[in-house]
Each structure stands twice: as C-alpha cells, then as structure tokens.
Amino acid sequence: MHIVVPIKLAPDLVEELEIDASGAALDRTFLRLIINEFDDHAIEQALLLKERGGGQVTLLTPDLEGAEDVLYTAAAKGADRLIKLTGDYSAGVSCHALARALSKAIRDLHPDLVLTGVQAHDDLDGAVGPLLADYLGMPYLGYVAGLTVGDGKCTARKEYPGGLIAEMEVDLPAVLGIQAAEKPPRYVVTSLITQAMKSATIEEIEAGEFDSSGTAPVMRMSRLEAATHAEMIEGSVDQVADKLVAVLRERGLLASQG
C-alpha cells in the first residue's frame, strides 16, 4: 500500500504579516513558513495507516525554507521516502500551480492513496486536494477525520456541521482531504530527527514552470483593520468584573436566584 502525502508550507501566523510594495501580495522577506497544520494531520493519518496495515509513505514538499526540517521530522516519525519539489517559488505559488506540478510528480509514484490537508490558511483559489485529484484523474473526498483501507476501496468518515459524520466508500486510488487524523500529530524526539538527518536522503523532482491558470488575480491585499472592535475594559480584576456584571444586568441577562 503506497501512500503519498503532498504537503504545503504556509506563513507562520505567530509572526507579523506585512504586505509588500506592490500592495497585492504578502511581503515574503520576513515571512516564516510552517507546515500547513492540516497536512501535519495528513502525515499522521498516513503513518497510522502504515502502522496498522503496512505499506510505504512518501512525502512531497515544495523546496522552500523549512522543507528539510519537515521532511526529516516525518522520516523520524516513520515516513519512507522524502521528495522535494524544486522550482521558482519567489512569486508565491497558487493551489492550481502547485496541484499541477504535484500531479506530474505523483503520477509517476503510482500511489494507492493520496492524503493531503483539506485546506491551508493561505489558500486563495480553493484547496490543493480537489484540484490535484482532478489532474490525477482520481476521486476526491474532503473533510475526512478517520479512515480504514480495504481492498481497492477505503471507508472514510466525512465531517459535517453539528458533529454529524457520513461514512463514505471511495474507490482507490483516490485523493482524500484530511480535516483531522485519528490522533493528534505525534511528537518525535529531536535525537531521532538528528539521526534521520544522517541516514535519510531527500530526493528532488523538478516542478518545471508553474502554471497558475485558474487563479483569480489578487489586486489588493491589506491587513485587516476591523470595522468594529470590542470596547476594551481596563482596570483591575475587580473593576473589570464589576463592569461586566453591569453590562449583563443592563441587558437583563442576570437571572435572579431561586
């Protein structure tokens, strides 16, 4: 069973985000990239499937700052093959462009299952998963939180609002968009990552020219200055608590006792 996990690196929201001089894109000089949280779950789900039923897990990531960390960490957790997608990322890469490039690379890997995060927080043109599935000619199912793999098919738990789950059967090979792995992404101790750095090799595949057609151009980007902002209550714990009680009372929200 060969599982391929393509991952995306997205801006780390812990850092300050700035808009560049053009006013239509993020300033990439001070950006720090972090693995897309949902892709981290996809890696975890892939590893869980491998632990349960055997197989091979291949990671694919764009050749950006932080890519090697992500790959070696995954190797330390149990991933078998590590691949970097090399190319010119200087202008940023849209989901369409990335999905196209990935599909070329993944086709040659002949996976049984492709797991990827259901979305990333910097997506502007949809998500990579559904587009990738189309380029690969595979079925797609997203918002998956748990799956089991059988013969030529898999059964996935799809999340709907309100906590409702739909169990769907999907023909393999397929692309699944992971919302959450069955367990939170595991922690791997640093010494194992260091060992992986010595023993694992990272392959490279050329992405070629990135084709962004299908993306709507962004003409303006701005930091959100909220139209509304909460009225901030200052003061000591007692003062703030008093004010909140007053607000509640004013609105008739304090039921009297008894």
């Binding site: 949809g126 199912l141 709907y160 309100g162 906590g163 980007m221 959100l224 909220a226 200052e234 909140l244």
Partner: protein, 326 residues
C-alpha cells in the same frame, strides 16, 4: 451564454444549510449589480419542497435523481458541471464547506473557469464585480475583480446574515434531469453516524461560555463550569479543546460544529479564528477574554478585556453570585 448567477444549495437530511442562505445573499448582490438572474441550484431526490425557502432566488433549478438523494462528491460534481456546460452561468457560488469544497474545484476545471476561494463579501465597483476574501487566519484581506466570462467562488460565512438570503418562495422552479451520466460513481455513502449523546443542544441555548486553547488544561474547566453555573449557561468550546477530548464533539462551536445564536457568549481564551467565529455570528452579546491584544476575537466581540481568564473568572463568578442575591 447566460449571465446568470448560480448558487449551489446545500442540503443535509432534509434541511437547507445556513451557508446557502449566506451565499444567496451574496449572489443577490452580484445579480442586482450586474443585472443578472439569481438561480438557486438544488440537487436531490423528491426534495422539491426544500425550494420553499429559496425565494431570494429568481429561479430554482431543481435536479432530481436517486443518486442525488444524499450528497456525494462524484455525483454532485458531474451533475453541476453538466448543467454548467449547458447553461454557462456568469458565476457559480458554492459554500466553503464540507460539501462545497469537495465539488467546487472539479466543476471549475470542468468549465475552465477560475476559482476564488474563501470569499466573504462581493461588491460592484465601477460596474465590475469584486470579491473580498479573508486569508491567513483572518488577519489579511485579499481583494480582486471576479474574472469573466465565468468564475466559481466558495463562500465563507460572516459577510452576510443568513436571514438576508432566506425568503419564502420559490418564484419559479425548473425541474430537470441530470445531463451527465451518474453511473460508475467512485464515491458512495454508506451511512450517517450521529454525534455521541448530544447531551445538550448548544444551538438552542441562550447563555454560552466558550473555552479555547487558553484554558491550557482540562482541570481548569471546573473554574469555567462554576461561572457557567452562575450565568445559567452551558460550556462549549472551539476546535482545539474538542480535539483534545476535553469537551464532547456536541459542544463544538464553529465550522465543523454548531452555529449558535445565544443572547450572551462569553469567549475565554479563544483567539477568534475564522472557523470558530463563523459559528457565533448570531450571538447578540459577545464578551471576550484574551491576553493577546491582537486576537481576532476582539473584532467580533462587543466587550473585551486583556486580563487573564484565570484571574478574572473566579472574581466574575463571585460577583455574579452576589449580584443575583435577591
């Protein structure tokens, strides 16, 4: 080539999802601004009565087929793409949801149209339609023209109140069969699984106290429980808390959970990420407690404080208790 604005309606077990009304409200803006018709596209089986609340649309395009009784990505994508190829609408609006996101990408490729994701608001500027999409956890806004001749958009809540898109109707229903073949489907529904013991339906509660990552550990929930008790409120939470198992899934507020409309929503240690905030749009009064002054929750809250919840909550609990003494 029609200039219709299409809104793909999402239904789940006999009910229209709220996101569809939001999408209709957005679609209405585009339709009015471009002088186009707003068409609600409804897929199902024996589901025509669901069109009764789609009066905001000028017309309802209803496709009936056994394979469309429940949502599956393959069947829906083929049907919608087939319809779109025949009718070539100006724009197709999907919900940015578990259903919409499974299908929007494929449809956009099938009709060779660009895809605008996470769109929250639309507007007409100098006769041109524009989209506004929040990104990067809601911290950044991206804007641009909605490309022509056709475009697919996925709509996130928060830009329009669902009430604005919900109207009795419909004005007109056009019933049709799917033009694309619906055999050889690669994804099928086996069964639905109910959420475990929905002990409380938080969607119906008037007072809610919500906890987020800031609670740090489940032992601290007792503190919050005490506050909830004094307020006559129920404790709910955001994704991180439910993922850890500290609250059951039935208490999840947000995109994958429940949309709530309480009279009062106290958000403790919640950053205000879009996935959560979209669930509390209906709250009348939002009080936010968070030590991070830049937390997006303060953009939706009515009152806020930077005090640590561990300092504030016990004091607040006590003062409410005293205030309630007859």
């Amino acid at each position: 080539m029609s200039q219709d604005i299409w809104v793909v309606v999402e239904t789940l077990r006999g009910e229209v999802m709220e996101i569809s009304y939001t999408s209709l409200a957005a679609g209405r803006v585009l339709a009015d601004g471009l002088g186009a018709r707003l068409v609600a596209v409804l897929l199902g089986h024996n589901a025509e009565p669901l069109a009764n609340t789609l009066g905001a649309a000028d017309s309802v395009l209803y496709v009936d087929h056994a394979s469309l009784a429940d949502f599956t990505p393959d069947a829906f994508r083929r049907t919608i793409a087939g319809l779109a190829k025949d009718s070539t609408p100006r724009a197709i609006l999907f919900g940015h949801t578990s259903m919409g996101m499974d299908v929007a990408g494929g449809v956009s490729l099938d009709i060779n149209a660009p895809l605008v994701g996470s769109c929250q608001r639309v507007r007409i500027e100098d006769g041109q339609p524009w989209y506004t999409s929040p990104t990067c956890g809601g911290k950044i806004l991206a804007e641009g023209q909605i490309p022509d001749p056709a475009c697919v958009l996925t709509i996130v809540p928060g830009g329009y109140k669902p009430e604005a898109g919900r109207m009795p109707g419909p004005k007109e229903v056009v019933r049709t069969a799917p033009s694309a073949a619906l055999d050889g489907l690669r994804v099928s529904l086996k069964q639905y699984v109910e959420p475990q013991t929905a002990d409380v339906n938080i969607a119906k509660e008037a007072m809610l106290v919500a906890i987020g990552r800031g609670i740090q550990q489940p032992d601290n929930i007792a503190l919050v429980q005490a506050l909830a008790q004094e307020l006559g409120a129920v404790v709910c939470g955001s994704r991180p808390v439910v993922d850890q198992g500290w609250l059951p899934l039935s208490r999840l507020v947000g995109k994958s959970g429940v949309s709530v409309k309480p009279k009062c929503y106290v958000a403790l240690g919640i950053s205000g990420a879009p996935e959560h905030v979209e669930g509390i749009g209906g709250a009348e009064l939002i009080l936010a407690v968070n030590t991070d002054p830049r937390a997006p929750i303060f953009n939706v809250a009515h009152y806020g404080t930077l005090l640590s919840m561990f300092d504030l909550v016990p004091a607040l609990t006590e003062k409410i208790r005293q205030a309630r003494q007859p």
